[in-house]
């Protein structure tokens, strides 16, 4: 029906891990309504392992699907592993995205990075994460 792959449509229609986590160990928001996308990501961490991940997203199909996929991909992973998650990996796991939608996967990576950054800060640790400025996230 659309330009999206079946996998993207599946994650869009039946998104995994929608919602908030109260008292999350890490929480990050990226995007703004003028770009058309806002992603908010929450993680719950136990012994360096992400035991729960949730999101809320205002955005297009690709934004919702990448949020869903990204949260799926980090669940059960260590913080170090999660830090390695790239937008390319999320896109690949979704079976690809239309070219004009690539920036959405970048946004998911950024939301995760932002949540991880928050996790380090909340723990009083120096954050190894360098957040990219907003403009680079959205290249339009």
């Amino acid at each position: 029906m659309t330009q999206y792959s079946e996998k993207v449509m599946d994650h869009f229609m039946n998104p995994r891990n929608v919602g908030e986590i109260e008292n999350a160990d890490g929480e990050g928001t990226v995007g703004n309504p003028s770009c058309g996308d806002i992603m908010k990501m929450y993680i719950k961490v136990e012994k360096d392992v992400i035991v729960e991940a949730r999101f809320k997203t205002f955005g297009c199909g690709a934004a919702i699907a990448t949020s869903s996929m990204a949260t799926e991909m980090i669940k059960g992973r260590t913080i170090d592993e999660a830090m390695e998650l790239t937008n390319e990996a999320v896109t690949e796991a979704l079976g690809g995205l239309p070219k004009v939608k690539r920036h959405c996967s970048v946004l998911a990576e950024q939301a995760l990075q932002s949540a991880l950054d928050d996790y380090f800060k909340k723990k009083g640790l120096p954050s190894p994460i360098i957040l990219k400025p907003e403009e680079e996230v959205h290249d339009h």
């Binding site: 659309t2 309504p33 806002i38 908010k40 205002f58 934004a63």
Partner: protein, 385 residues
Amino acid sequence: MINFDHAAATQPLPEVVDVMKPFLYEQFGNPSSMYVEGQAVKEAIEAARTNVAELIHSNPNEIYFTASGSEANNFALKGVAFANQKKGNHIIISAIEHFSVLQAAKSLTKLGFEVTHVPVDAQGFVNPDDVKKAITDQTILVSLMHANHEIGTIEPIAEIARVVKERDILFHTDAVQTAGTIPVDVDELQVDLLSMAAQNFYGPKGAGALYIRKGTRINPLIDGGIQENGRRAGTENVMGIVGMGKAAELAIQQLPERIQHVQNLRDQLIIGIEANIDEVFFHGSRENRLPNNANFGFRYIEGESILLFLGMDKIVASSGSACTSKALKASHVLLAIGASHEIANGTILFTLGIDNEEGHIKLLLEKLPVYVQRLREMSPLYEKK
């Protein structure tokens, strides 16, 4: 497929297709030649011209075929600008024009012309007083659209024309959304130039026209050749022209019933959405509005994802969202009427056509509230009450 995206394109009617088919292959001939085959083609083109002229109450020799509404708009703006540059270098347009007018005007600014964009109010209306104030002794052209392609607002063209024509300034209107959709009369509107496109009234794609009032100073956009009375060169798209002519003829015959049909459905749609979904923003004017247009901003959520859900039910519409625009920018029309980025990105445009039925509206009204709620529950901006 349930098509609520008629502003983008309508499907050619069977009668239109029927008159086009012979020109695919059999009716071969060069309309500029001296031979009978060519003469038959020429007559078909002239008959089409007569129909298109009648659609807007003008004369056949004032109709110039183009390949699109965009070409007609570029022809009008650049043609008038270049032909009248000795008189002045100032052009007035509105903030909500179609990109083909906005960008043509922008190009002209790089060639020494100055462009004023008059604002619109919250319903998308241009105020005649603003046009009056914007006029200088350098003003050679005012170009304001007849009705907006997104919010459906019909501009007070005749009223503005009075202001413009007092000053011996040329007046162009982009009627791509109105010609063939509502009554259009160049004398009532008092315009000198008017753009049309066939795909907006059940004609083929790739066929448009510019009305040029007799005596208007204008240069060609496409120079050379003797076609279109020397004002638009190039071997004619005979099939497209003939199809546009038939579409115009049918529009003239069927306009009242078409309007009634789409307006009735459209009103059901508006009432239904407002009754069943909260926090929706109705865009545009409720009175001076295209009969087939309904435009709503759905708070907290984004337009493309709404369209994707509707697409699962084979319902097609359009969105003001940055995500669905190829420029990845929220609708300049919505921003110009004061909508926030959030609302603009969450806006859906429904444009109806003669192929829509009550069942389509029913299905939409059954599904849409559910999808809106699902998306809101995913939205970080939404707080359930």
